[in-house]
Amino acid sequence: MQYCLLSREAETHIQTMKNRYLVGGPITPILVSELMTLGNDDTGTGAVSIFIGRVRDDEAAGRRVTAIEYSAYEEMAGKEADEIVRTVKSAFSDVRSVIIVHSLGLVKAGEASLFIMVTSGHRDQGTRACRHTLEMIKERLPIWKKELF
């Protein structure tokens, strides 16, 4: 499992991961740093494309969002995320790895709830694959949110 590769420093974060795709609470800067070390030893990687989704403090009907509570059909989400990774890798032959992590539970405004990292030989396929992964996540991951004010 990918998260077994992470260092001691991130262990407390990793222990909250429900599977390799879902983490309880926000995706903290420390977890992001640790996830970014995955694939660091692959000297054939020339391009690393990352997307981080954050909770905005949007206004809705005069009230400001302070947090979002995410829930998921966890078993199906894991299966779908596996499928997304497989699809992206087969559609973009230059892609070397795809990492997806989504938050469950409470994430406050300003905190991150989604992390995508695609490593590739060159920039073109990498940036397109990262965007494609993002669109597939929105379309296929059984995750729901509830805005808190």
Binding site: M76, H102, L114, K138
Partner: protein, 78 residues
């Protein structure tokens, strides 16, 4: 022949039905869908899709013993 299946409610479907899961007797997904909308008219307005054993249902299907059906409002992740 109707058999017993488990129905899981997610997202707004959980709020609409007031429960996380429930047992139903149904022979196929079309019949289950009708029962769901009869019991919870608001479900039809979410709208919702169904997953059968963790796979999104593309067409109506006969149900087997121990099948798990999930009621999925539009996804909001990302």
């Amino acid at each position: 022949m109707d058999i017993s299946v488990t129905v899981l409610y997610f997202g707004a479907a959980e709020a609409t039905t007031g429960r996380k899961e429930e047992e139903f007797l149904a022979g196929d997904t079309a019949s289950l869908r009708r029962q769901l909308i009869t019991r919870y008219p608001d479900l039809a307005r979410l709208p919702f899709r169904m997953a059968l054993n963790r796979t999104l249902l593309k067409e109506e299907s006969v149900l087997q013993k121990s099948d798990i059906i999930a009621i999925l409002p539009p996804f909001q992740g990302g």
